[in-house]
C-alpha cells in the first residue's frame, strides 16, 4: 500500500475517527496518517459533533457504542453529519450487528456498516470503496 493512498484531487482526504477507546483511536490515526490521509480524532460524541459542525470531512468513521453520560451516541453523530456535512460519507462499526442497527444506520445516513472488531485493513478498504482514488 503506497503512502499516498489518501490523496484525492483536492489534497489529502479528510477523515474524522470517532471511538472512545483511546488506544484504538491512536492506532487508527497512525494507520491512516501513514497512508496520506488528513486525520482528526474525537473520543466523545459531543466532541465529534462539535468537530463536524466546524470542519469539513470526506469520511467519518464512528463507533456506534460511544460512551456518553447524556446518552448521545454514534447515531447522534450521524445525524449531525447529515445536517452539517451532508457530502461526507460515513462508516459505522459496532460489535452488536443486527438488522435493526443496519436499518437505523441507513436511516441516519450511514453509508457503510463494518462489524467490530474490524481490522485496520478492513476499514481502509471501506474508506477506499466509499471514496475511490481518482485515476
Amino acid at each position: 500500500m503506497g503512502a499516498t493512498t489518501g490523496e484525492h484531487l483536492y489534497g489529502p482526504m479528510k477523515l474524522l475517527l470517532i471511538d472512545d477507546e483511546n488506544e484504538l483511536l491512536e492506532a487508527m490515526a497512525r494507520f491512516f496518517l501513514h497512508r496520506g490521509y488528513s486525520v482528526e480524532c474525537a473520543a466523545e460524541s459531543e466532541e465529534a459533533i462539535a468537530m463536524i459542525r466546524h470542519h469539513r470531512f470526506d469520511v467519518v468513521i464512528v463507533d456506534l457504542e460511544l460512551n456518553s453520560i447524556e446518552g448521545l451516541n454514534g447515531f447522534a453523530v450521524l445525524k449531525a453529519l447529515r445536517q452539517s456535512c451532508p457530502t461526507a460519507r460515513a462508516i459505522v462499526y459496532s460489535g452488536h450487528f443486527s438488522e435493526a442497527i443496519t436499518e437505523a444506520t441507513v436511516h441516519h445516513g450511514g453509508a457503510k456498516f463494518v462489524a467490530k472488531p474490524a481490522s485496520l485493513s478492513q476499514l481502509l478498504a471501506s474508506v477506499e470503496e466509499l471514496c475511490p482514488i481518482p485515476c
Binding site: N22, E40, A42, A43, E44, E46, E47, I49, A50, M51, R53, H54, H55, E70, L72
Partner: protein
C-alpha cells in the same frame, strides 16, 4: 475526572486568551476603545478551535464551567496589559440562568485583580433554547448593578433576536458577520443595515459591526452611521504581548479613514498599511 476533552479544557492554565480590539472610527481618527477577550482551548486538542470549544460546552451542557474557566484566563491575562481599558467578555446566556453565583463570582474576581467593573462589557452569546426569563432578567440587573454594560452578540443570527433585544436592553448590538460580509456590494444587506441602524438609534444602543474585512464594507457601514467596528481590516485576534504593541502603534498616528486606496491589514500581530498614495506610505513609515 477521566481524561476527557472537558478535563483537558478545565485543567489549570489550559485556556488561553487572545484579544481583538473594537475600533471607534470617525472622519479623522480610529481608536481602539474596547478589547474583546477571546478564549482558545488547549492547543493540542480539538477545542483549540473556538467554535469547537463552545459547541462542545453547549452539547455537554457545561456552559457555566467553561465560562468561568475562560473568564479566569481572560482576567488574569488582561491585568498584564498596560493601561485601564474597556474590555468585553463573552458569556453564554445559559450561564446567567444556571449559575446563580456567577455574577458575584465575576465581581469577586474583578475586585481581586483590582479591575474596574465599569470597564467591563458582558457579550451575551446564546444559540440555545428558551429558559427561565425571570432568572435571566435578575442576572442582568445584577450585572448592571455592578456598573457593567451588556452587548448582545451575533445579532441577526439564531437566538439573538427581537425578544432577546427586548429582554437585555443592551448598550451594544454586535451585528453578526453574516450581515456585514459583502455589504459593500449587496443591496439586501445594505437595506438590513439601514433598518438596524434606525432600530439601534431608537433603542438607544450602539451598533458594533463584526467581521469588517474591506474598506468597501467600512464605507457602507459608516454611511449608515455605524461607528464601531471589529474585524481583520483593523486587527486579527492577537496575544496579550502583541496587543500592547498594537495599541501603542495605533495611538500615535490618527489614520484618516476611509480612503479608497487604503487597505489596513494586521499581519504577524502588527498593524501594517498597504496602499499607493504618498499619504498612506507616510503614515506607514510613522507607524
Amino acid at each position: 475526572m477521566p481524561n476527557t476533552l472537558l478535563s483537558k479544557i478545565l485543567a489549570p492554565g489550559a485556556i488561553s486568551t487572545v484579544f481583538q480590539p473594537i475600533f471607534s472610527v470617525n472622519e479623522t481618527s480610529s481608536t481602539a476603545i474596547i478589547l474583546e477577550c477571546l478564549s482558545r482551548g488547549p492547543a493540542s486538542t480539538n477545542a483549540a478551535h473556538a467554535g469547537v470549544l463552545f459547541e462542545y460546552a453547549q452539547l455537554k451542557a457545561v456552559e457555566p464551567l467553561i465560562d468561568r474557566a475562560c473568564i479566569t484566563a481572560a482576567l488574569n491575562t488582561l491585568v498584564a496589559i498596560e493601561g485601564s481599558r474597556r474590555f468585553s467578555l463573552n458569556v453564554f446566556a445559559a450561564t446567567l440562568v444556571r449559575d446563580s453565583g456567577f455574577v458575584p463570582w465575576v465581581a469577586e474576581q474583578m475586585n481581586r485583580l483590582q479591575l474596574n467593573p465599569s470597564n467591563l462589557i458582558f457579550e451575551l452569546v446564546e444559540h440555545g433554547e428558551a429558559w427561565d426569563t425571570n432568572i435571566f432578567l435578575s442576572a442582568l440587573r445584577d450585572i448592571r448593578s455592578l456598573g457593567c454594560q451588556i452587548a448582545l452578540d451575533d445579532v441577526g443570527l439564531a437566538h439573538s433576536n427581537f425578544k432577546r433585544i427586548l429582554e437585555c436592553d443592551p448598550e451594544f448590538l454586535k451585528l453578526d458577520r453574516c450581515i456585514v460580509q459583502d455589504c459593500g456590494h449587496d443591496l439586501r444587506r445594505q437595506a438590513l443595515l439601514k433598518w438596524l441602524a434606525f432600530l439601534a438609534k431608537d433603542l438607544g444602543s450602539s451598533l458594533i459591526a463584526e467581521g469588517v474585512e474591506s474598506c468597501e464594507e467600512l464605507n457602507v457601514l459608516r454611511s449608515h452611521d455605524i461607528g464601531l467596528f471589529q474585524g481583520f481590516l483593523f486587527s486579527k485576534p492577537v496575544s496579550a504581548a502583541e496587543i500592547s504593541i498594537l495599541l501603542k502603534k495605533i495611538a500615535m498616528p490618527k489614520l484618516p479613514l476611509p480612503a479608497a486606496e487604503l487597505e489596513l491589514t494586521c499581519r504577524q500581530g502588527g498593524l501594517t498599511i498597504e496602499g499607493t498614495s504618498q499619504n498612506v506610505e507616510r503614515m506607514a513609515r510613522q507607524i
